[in-house]
Amino acid sequence: MTTVAVHGHDAHHEQATGFKRWLVTTNHKDIGTMYLIFAFTMLMVGGLMILLVRAELFQPGLQLMQPGFYNQLVTLHGLIMVFGAAMPAATGLANWMLPLMIGAPDMALPRLNNWSFWILPPAAVMLVTPFVLGLFGVGTGAVDTGWTMYAPLSVQTGWGMDFAIFAVHMLGMSSILASINVVVTILNMRAPGMTMMKMPVFAWAFLMTAILLIIVMPVLAGGVTMVLMDRHFGTHFFDAAGGGDPVLWQHIFWFMGHPEVYVLLLPIAGVIPHVLSTFSRKPMYGYKGQVYAIIAITVLSVMVWAHHMFTSGMSVGAQLYFMYSTMLISLPLAVLFFCWIATFWRGSMSFEAPMLFALGFVVLFGWGGLTGLVLADAAADAQYHNAYFLVAHFHYALYPTVIMGAMAGVYYWLPKWTGNMYDEKLARLHFWITVIAFNLTFIPQFFVGLAGMPRRIPDYALQFVEFNMISSVGAFILGFAHLLFIYIVIKCVRGGEKAKDKSWEGAEGLEWTVPSPAPYHTFDTQPVIK
């Protein structure tokens, strides 16, 4: 790297080459890149699985697969997208950008950083191995319980479940380690003069995400260990015959599962204000409001989990509590929406790909949030729960967030990472295909859900035919859009118009003060913030 000359201290230690460089690296940029590549790979794997599902659902009847195999695909899709794609993508962004945005030379705990990444690939292999073996007729196939792994089904099912349990342990370990690193970095490594309330929203969002993960991931790890004990060591945590309770699992799972939604949202809520501000050429609106809203969401998110369980049966008091507390979350979210819109309001907007994705996120996630409100109604929820209405709702909440939001971030910082501008025309095309295909896929699912189609079924009654067809067509186009994305990124890595240090006219922040591409080591001397 040319930066070796600039940063004399590189001469002290030898830079490993080839695969070893990536295996032993403790550099936050290398690790961030690996996280992002890993996340995109898993996005492709999870996406391929759901395309098989959509192909099966294109028509009624069983065409391509048996129900057992279908259940494996649906389950792996969920687990892979949440733990393999969404969370590593966020961690990748954090790794790359946190030190650059708070003026730190690297993450606080570089070796831990290396380890938290390298736990991931074995975990993914662990999760998928039974699936691959199953294709060759070995074993019982992958975990097939849905990503929620409800007991006692998860106690009864084949040994794909055991693999999933250990994979969840490893994935959880990886997130906890990465989260500790984020917290320590933010609390200790900020540039001199950068007080907490001068820190970018990006850093606040990741701080809160990391704290959430440290709170909830150990609970899930404990929960899956209890399933493992029930499966193999004769305990009865989830077996009523031995004094246990199957619904206990749901409480444990959703104590992790609901905050998990915000673990996926908050990082993007950290990216979006920067993008909106840059392309509106106008300072961010309501910084304090956003920070307090993010903190409020973090606190509320661990208090509302049982709204996923209204049909499981619980007392009237509990239903009312979880209903009203869930509605409360709409307030800090409304603060965020208000600030996002007020940020570009009366700005001087231009519509490069990051801005398009950010605006797309604001609009589509808005619909995801609004449909969430009616799901909070404990009585009406009976009609939506576990129907396709719910599937459509949470894809509106998650896809615009973790995928479109992350893509906004990737396009925004690609010039900084690679030193080259990406192909703007293609990237805009990518955006429009994504938005149209996404709506084509999920709008019909609201309607089949209302008509009464349950989720996770491989075959359906004839009244659901047309909407499922439209949805499948949309899904395949959406899948194609991701191929276009990877093409644009590779093209950008290989070359293109050289990016300026400050790649965007309206960009603010420390990351735009370092050269493009960002040198291997940055901020050896920390900048001073006034």
């Binding site: 300072p283 309501g286 049966g313 309001w345 700005g347 907007m349 109604d377 009609q383 008509a451 004839l462």
Partner: protein, 390 residues
């Protein structure tokens, strides 16, 4: 109207993906099915109100965004303002209005009716006129009428040929069963659910109720069906391989017809009970056994008895189907054939059939399994034996 619809249909057919279905566009529905219970009426009302509010909010905000996008763009020469927070009382007022509106929508417009709806939903006991117990099992529903002593199992009747696309699909594809739940219209029915294996969820969209069947626990819900008719639904909680194939069908009858049905059903149950005491011939057992096998066993162990190993072991050639099922004192051999069928195997999908099959059905199906698929145990199980072993 019809011209408009024709136009839509032609347009639809012009798109090949739609014409493949060969199903009229008139099948589209954009809302819940017609509600027939108080809960479903209430849910539909909330849903419609909410959708209006949500769409107004969504398109209102979307319009603001679009306005900003077109008006405040650099290419139109708009110069950026630099405000970052509300300034002065008037601005604070406009900032706080949306939040006040949201609080009002959350806790007044929805919150208050939702409070009453939850109380209504959970009030299963007041004025309840009858009880029906709903028991989920992989992958069928069992219904019990404790006051009448009636109990039967309800399983999917859609032929395998239709599912595997070898035969054209019928009108109620996947939503048809052999023994539908029969209930009187106009009476408040208290449903009690539980499960024998994993969690299932009983759902009929027209009733607006969905409640999980949790093994080892009782859960309740209720319905007063205002219009006689046939209502269909499905299991709504992933419960294993055939989760998509355990529909719910409810026949709501006028009171008089319901009474008739109860009398008939009681009669049939009495005959069935009596049949346990007579000695059955091998042909009788094999004939009934074949029927029971198709309904209760074939989903996992397959119609040819070869199973789907390793999760679902074969019966053809299985050791257990040749070994003795009773010991010399006439007791069940632990993990023997009859024990497995009656009591299931813990921790697997093999369930205890003694609660869902009659004496004659258990005797017949075990006899059938021991003497079909190339198995040659040769022995018979008599219903009376099963009755004695319960």
């Amino acid at each position: 109207m019809s011209k408009w619809r024709d136009g839509v249909r032609r347009f639809g057919l012009a798109i090949p993906m739609l014409s493949w279905a060969g199903v009229a566009l008139a099948d589209y529905t954009f809302n819940f099915p017609t509600p027939v219970t108080p809960i479903a009426h209430d849910t539909l009302r909330v849903h419609n109100l909410f959708m209006v509010i949500a769409l107004v909010l969504f398109f209102g905000v979307f319009a603001l965004i679009l306005y900003s996008i077109f008006k405040h763009r650099k290419s139109a020469g708009h110069k950026a303002a630099d405000f970052t927070a509300p300034r002065g009382g008037k601005q604070w007022f406009f900032v706080l209005v949306p939040f006040a509106a949201l609080l009002y929508i959350d806790y007044i417009v929805f919150g208050i009716p939702a409070y009453h709806a939850v109380l209504m939903y959970e009030d299963t006991k007041t004025d309840a006129e009858m009880v029906v117990k709903v028991i989920g099992s992989q992958w069928k529903w069992q219904y019990e009428y404790p006051e009448e002593g009636i109990k039967f199992v309800s399983v999917l009747t859609t032929p395998q040929d239709q599912i595997s696309n070898k035969a054209p699909k019928g009108e109620h594809y996947l939503l048809e069963v052999d023994n539908p739940l029969v209930v009187p219209a106009g009476r408040k029915i208290r449903f009690i659910t539980t499960s024998t294996d994993v969690i299932h969820s009983w759902w009929v969209p027209a009733f607006g109720v969905k409640r999980d069947a949790v093994p080892g626990f009782l859960r309740e819900f209720w319905a007063t069906i205002d219009t006689p008719g046939i209502y269909r639904g499905q299991c709504a909680e992933l419960c294993g391989k055939d989760h998509g194939f355990m529909p719910v069908v409810v026949h709501a009858l006028p009171e008089a017809e319901y009474k008739q049905w109860v009398a008939q059903k009681k009669d049939a149950m009495a005959k069935q009970a009596a049949s346990a005491d007579k000695t059955w011939s091998k042909d009788e057992l094999m004939a009934l056994g074949k029927e029971v096998y198709a309904k209760a066993c074939a989903a996992c162990h397959q119609p040819d008895g070869k199973g789907l190993p390793p999760a679902f072991p074969p019966i053809a050639g299985a050791k257990v189907a040749a070994a003795p099922f009773l010991d010399k004192d006439g007791r069940l051999v632990k993990d023997g054939h009859l024990d497995r069928v009656m009591n299931g195997k813990a921790g697997t999908a093999m369930q205890a059939f003694k609660s869902t099959l009659s004496d004659a059905e258990i005797a017949a199906v075990v006899t059938y399994e021991r003497n079909a698929f190339g198995n040659t145990a040769g022995d018979l199980v008599q219903p009376a034996q099963v009755k004695g072993l319960r």
